[in-house]
């Protein structure tokens, strides 16, 4: 299934990437599966997505989500640091 992945703020800068389209197999269809897939892209990616810490915030279809949240085709997953607006 196709998952659209977004990166914001320091993650976008660190990874040099603001969005990416991933193909995820049915058995890997959780946010943890997305993280695993991202790790294969290199050391920088691994530093963020291999056992992501509490400072990696996750949204699924624009609502806050967890590593074990299940995914459906065409879902939007976003990774970002804790927010600092206002």
């Amino acid at each position: 299934m196709k998952i659209n992945v977004l990166f914001f703020a320091s993650f976008k800068e660190l990874l040099g990437c603001s969005s990416i389209s991933l193909d995820i197999s049915q058995e890997n269809a959780t946010i943890a599966g997305v993280c695993q897939s991202l790790c294969s892209r290199g050391e920088r990616w691994k530093s963020v997505f291999d056992e992501p810490s509490k400072t990696v915030k996750i949204a699924l279809n624009q609502e806050m989500a967890e590593l074990d949240s299940p995914l459906n085709d065409n879902d939007e997953v976003a990774f970002f640091p804790p927010v600092t607006g206002g």
């Binding site: 914001f8 703020a9 949204a59 624009q62 609502e63 927010v83 607006g85 206002g86």
Partner: protein
């Protein structure tokens, strides 16, 4: 470009028409306009509280040349909607306006505007502070500070998490 994301004036309620607006803008916030929307309420409200936050240059930020505000379009607006709805469930608010800058800002420029109008002053004070506290914790904005020789992303503050936990008691 100023985008008004939601704005509804309930026609039935003649005195207590409810105005609610969210604005994310990549150009300077027009504070006169925003203030007017909350303060000039033709006697329907009685009390209004406005919070504004600006790019600060105090001892901590000496040498700051500017700030970049990034956000998550779509999610930011829906998070702000949720926060405003939570406030409206707690207090009777006749007007709510939340505006936030994105893009590049210079020292002194307004970053955020939260304005509420209500019948009573206590409700207006509580609601404005509540919305600001939750905006700080939940709204998907990120700040990057620029100095002459370096730039860095601002880190989230523990005090902002504590501010939100207080509201469990209200």
């Amino acid at each position: 470009m100023m985008r008004l994301l939601s704005s509804h004036l309930l026609p039935g309620a003649s005195i207590l028409s409810i105005i609610k607006k969210i604005l994310i803008s990549d150009t300077a916030l027009d504070l006169d306009d925003l203030n007017g929307l909350i303060q000039n309420n033709a006697g329907e409200s009685g009390a209004a509280v406005i919070f504004t936050g600006a790019v600060r240059v105090s001892a901590e930020e000496q040498g700051l040349t500017g700030m970049t505000l990034e956000h998550y379009p779509g999610m930011t607006e829906s998070q702000l909607e949720i926060i405003i709805k939570k406030a409206q469930a707690k207090w009777h608010l006749t007007r709510v306006m939340v505006a936030h800058r994105v893009g590049y800002l210079t020292p002194g420029e307004p970053i955020v505007f939260v304005g509420v109008a209500s019948l009573h002053r206590k409700e207006a004070f509580l609601a404005a502070e509540f919305i600001m506290d939750y905006l700080k914790q939940d709204a998907t904005f990120w700040k990057k500070e620029h100095y002459a020789d370096q730039s860095h992303w601002v880190e989230a503050k523990e005090s902002d998490r504590e501010a939100v936990s207080q509201w469990d008691r209200v």
